[in-house]
Amino acid sequence: MAAEAAESRPGAGLAARGVGKRFRLRGGFVDALAGLDLAAPRGSFTALVGRSGCGKSTLLRLFAGLEAPTAGELAIHGRPVDAVRREHRIGVAFQDPALLPWRSADANVRLAFEVAGREAAAGAVERLIRLVGLEGFERAKPSQLSGGMRQRIALARALAVEPEVLLLDEPFGALDDLTRLRLNLELQRIWMDRAPTTLLVTHSVAEAVFLADRVVVLSPPPLRRTTVVEVPLPRPRERAALRSPDFHRLCDHLTELLFEDAGADGPPPHA
């Protein structure tokens, strides 16, 4: 399986060392991140959870090369982020699907190929649209699609050029539970098949536990604690896994961490 073949060296996938991000405001400045460390192996699936204001979206943006850190450094697969970005090896999907309203759905997916300067293989775009379950909607304009459908097109676009690293910021936020679960299963299947190093920012603890190898909990300032919870559940994870006691224990543990009530309750439960 892809997970086993992945480089197990921590930090070979996503690495952040002493990362800080300071934003200037009118009155002064705010540190969205300070002294943050993160290490994820290549080909792994990492979920990022935390309360609002903890900086998880900022961290994702730093890994996408959209912002530069004001302190510390980041690396993807051992290389500087900007180099990886310029080689079109990053796939992103944000909360805002950000489809171009003047392009049809398939043209929006094709944008990824155009930016990468590559020809889409015959039928590649159609396959991607079928992958996210929107067969028949290729020629639809974004204004004719629901929010969830737009988000699925955005996901197809993110996967189009088979990126080495996948950065997702709450891409399933606007979807109903059924579609969300369906897409989670799809994402897992794709990830097991192609093994991009994946970072998923999510508000849903269940989604994080279902998809990820490890869940990183960020707490907002002034605490700024980074807690890593391993998710040793076996793969592939089917819907039945959602009912297992281990799954529930992990979810409960993470929920407690998020509420910061219990703090240290001992080591996380093992499978």
Binding site: R24, R26, R61, R85, V92, F94, L100, W102, V115, S143
Partner: protein, 531 residues
């Protein structure tokens, strides 16, 4: 929510327009009857008769003027779009050069016209004035449009490894088309007006020339006929621009469009103090302006009898023994002009906003009366002024009416576009909650249209000052407009240039104040964090 015109059966879409025209004609006939003694308002029938009699000359003159307007339209818009693109990609250039562009836009016609005639051969002055008429509004529209691109879409392109050029061409440019369309709708009739005014400064053929001749010979029916033809042409050009926009930009107003402000977001102070940064860029703009001034004087070898240098202006205003008296004279005149412009701007904007709200609430109104507003705007003030003076007098009211008319139409177009571009979802929330169409406007669309209001204000404030100057020249005989015209006719070029410089400075100050106000409102409302 506005229904797309295409969904209306053809008859219903023509009815409001016909209704508006009929109303206009009725008003005209009434005025002709009421003012019969003064003989300034001929009946529509008389005008029509004269038109038919003159039809041959209309074709020749019309072709000339349209050609000049077309070339000016192309040149002015091309320059504006290119400069706008430059400013968006290089905000530093904008901070220095935008002020210079505003200053150029604010040069009083009285000063500019004669220079253009001396400097440019043949059709040059008319094309230049037509280009200048469109340049500024298209520049602002381009800036607003390019900055309205969805920041998330730009991020996606960048994260996918796309460069600046790709992000610009594939995201910013298509996003800019709705705003550019609104600007071009205003520019089309404005170019025509610019060409006509250019002909006033000296030409052998054209509708403007015919208008001057008809007016000076007191041929009232012919004057009105020419004005009507100009209005009709302006309307056709506007319709053409509007149709073009609809074809190119069918997606406007339906999706979630990030509202953006024409100014780049204010960067918080860092490094050296805020005061240093605030003062540095205006100083740089001033340097560029003065440098350009000297350069143009040198390049075109303008005689120093009538073309003054910055140093001459400094002498006149500061170092000359009579400087204090000069300044006092200018100040007194400017006080009057500010009042004239301010009142006209206030009423014109208020009227435009109310009209836009009404038209947004009830689309048939737009189809009925927008052409009328366009007509009023497109007739040169020189033709309108006598009528206004007759009806409203040569005092404050008359000037206010003229300036309001100048401000009304562009503001109306901008605010309408702004109201239309509000994201549909936001309005639907209110509508689904049982809100009436008016409530949707009040609570949602009006706020989303605020950026458009500010963009139109930046355009309208210099226009109001220019309109006030013109009205004072033609009608009231007071204020800075009168001062400048008298200076020109008495060859007192020091006064002419110094007065123009102070006027430009005033316009720039207003423009800067508007910018500060816009930033404050943007920060307060939080609509649209642009990148």
């Amino acid at each position: 929510m506005p229904e797309a015109p295409a969904r209306w059966p053809a008859a219903r879409s023509w009815l409001p327009l016909a209704g508006g025209l009929v109303a206009l004609l009725a008003l005209w006939w009434l005025a002709a009857g009421l003012l019969r003694a003064q003989r300034v308002v001929p009946t529509p029938l008389a005008v029509l008769g004269q038109l038919i009699a003159d039809r041959a000359s209309y074709v020749a003159n019309g072709a000339t003027t349209l050609r000049e307007a077309a070339v000016g339209f192309l040149v002015g818009n091309a320059a504006a779009v290119l400069l706008g693109a430059l400013f968006v990609q290089f905000p530093l250039a904008e901070r220095i050069l935008l002020r210079v562009a505003v200053a150029a836009y604010c040069i009083p016609l009285v000063t500019l016209g004669p220079i253009l005639v001396v400097v440019l051969p043949g059709d040059g002055p008319k094309v230049a004035l037509a280009a200048l008429a469109v340049f500024f509004t298209t520049l602002l529209g381009t800036l607003q449009g390019l900055r309205s691109a969805n920041p998330a879409a730009l991020d996606v392109v960048r994260a996918l490894g796309g460069g600046e050029a790709r992000a610009f061409l594939q995201v910013r440019v298509p996003s800019a088309l709705p705003s550019l369309g609104a600007a071009l709708r205003i520019a089309a009739p404005a170019a025509l007006l610019g060409a006509v005014i250019g002909e006033y400064f000296g030409a052998s053929q054209g509708l403007g020339v015919a208008l001057v001749q008809a007016q000076s010979s007191f041929e009232v029916a012919r004057t009105w006929g020419l004005a009507a033809v100009l209005a009709l042409l302006a309307g056709l050009l506007y319709a053409l621009a509007a149709a073009l926009t609809r074809v190119l930009v069918p997606w406007a107003g339906r999706d979630d469009v990030a509202v953006a402000w024409a100014e780049p977001p204010a960067r918080a102070a860092s490094g050296w103090g805020r005061l240093g940064r605030t003062a540095a860029f205006p100083a740089l703009s001033l340097a560029v302006g003065i440098g350009g001034w000297y350069l143009l004087l040198r390049a075109f070898r303008l005689s120093d009898y009538f073309a003054k240098t910055p140093l001459d202006v400094w002498h006149y205003l500061v170092s000359d023994p009579a400087a204090a008296a000069n300044r006092a004279e200018l100040a007194a005149a400017l006080r009057i002009t500010c009042l004239d412009a301010g009142l006209g701007y206030g009423f014109g904007t208020l009227g435009a906003v109310l009209a836009a709200l009404a038209m947004a609430a009830w689309p048939p109104l737009e189809r009925a009366f927008l052409p009328g507003a366009l007509a009023v705007r497109s007739v040169p003030m020189v033709a309108l002024a006598p009528l206004v003076a007759l009806v409203f007098g040569r005092g404050l009211v008359g000037v206010t009416v003229i300036v309001s008319a100048v401000v009304f139409f562009p503001t109306l177009v901008y605010v309408l576009a702004g109201l239309r571009d509000a994201p549909r979802a936001a309005g639907e929330v209110v509508a689904a909650g049982g809100g009436s169409r008016l409530m949707v406007i009040r609570k949602v669309r009006a706020w989303y249209s605020l950026p458009s209001l500010f963009t139109s204000a930046r355009n309208a404030v210099p226009a109001a000052l220019g309109g006030a100057i013109l009205a004072e020249w033609l009608s009231t005989g007071r204020g800075a407009g009168n001062l400048l015209v008298v200076a020109y006719s008495e060859s007192q070029f020091d006064t002419l240039w110094s007065g123009s410089v102070v006027l430009i400075g005033l316009s720039l100050a207003c423009y800067g104040a508007l910018g500060a106000l816009e930033r404050a409102v943007a920060a307060r409302l939080g609509t649209g964090a642009t990148r």
